[in-house]
Subunit: 128 residues, 2 copies
DNA sequence: AAACAATTGAGATGTATTATCATTAAGGGG
DNA sequence: CCCCTTAATGATAATACATCTCAATTGTTT
């Protein structure tokens, strides 16, 4: 059965501390290292994958960057800022919510969808 | 000015030959190598990036895989088959087409969106 | 406490891609 | 048609991100 280790708890704590920042595995590693200096990168990557598989957190695939993680598992969209490369939450009531169809004309079975908006975060959008 | 090299033409030919397969850079390299054995991987990656930046072809970011390329620049959706890992075109007339909003409540500027469906390709969906 | 198995740490390894830089060749001007 | 300039290329090193390997450790069950 799955074991409850100190490392896992520290990783969850780091994710809570960084809530809203959508940190990368490397960023989480750096954060956890401050309280647990002997933790290994391998452990961080392993545990993050495990948690993502369990639905405890979201794994965000970001082009030209490592994966980012989000402990907010409520359904919401993300935007990659093309200027500062940060991932931010999108909060548009009118944002098209995807009703995922189960199949298509050519015989595909559709089980999920990944959506990532591109543009500028509020900070970079205000720059001019 | 931009030069029209033999290498670029061979890469375009390979993309046409592989049309519909959404090949990776590595696959394109292998294909071009058959007619141009001395071509370098660096050239393939460079040219593909250049073409993608010019809109000559689409660059598809696929999780846990290298980028895939598509010389069909007509707007259409893609699905990653979770079984065989192939990228296939989705042809659903009723697939929700995204009207990209220009901004959101929190001040983001939205300029684009990446959408990737997950599921099974027609071949793998028919397996049971 | 003993035993067993899941987990970890350290570092090697793998995969995809870009950087560096000397050499080559595209394409315009004379 | 040849020269010149400079973009483009080829070879390879370097980087980034992530996973694999395996001995050592540590939860958990007995």
């Amino acid at each position: 059965m799955e074991r409850n280790t100190h490392q896992k708890q520290c990783i969850l704590n780091a994710l809570e501390e960084l809530r809203g920042e959508h940190p990368t595995a490397e960023k989480i590693y750096e954060t956890v290292s401050q309280t647990l200096p002997t933790i290994s990168r391998a452990t961080v990557y392993r545990v993050l994958n495990q948690f993502a598989g369990q639905g405890v957190l979201l794994q965000l695939h970001v082009p030209d960057s490592g994966d980012h993680y989000d402990n907010n598992t409520m359904p919401h969209s993300h935007l990659l800022c093309c200027d500062c490369k940060r991932v931010v939450d999108l909060e548009s009531p009118q944002l098209p919510t995807f009703d995922i169809p189960s199949g298509d004309a050519s015989g595909c079975r559709i089980t999920g969808v990944e959506v990532l908006f591109l543009g500028q975060c509020p900070h970079c959008a205000a720059k001019f």
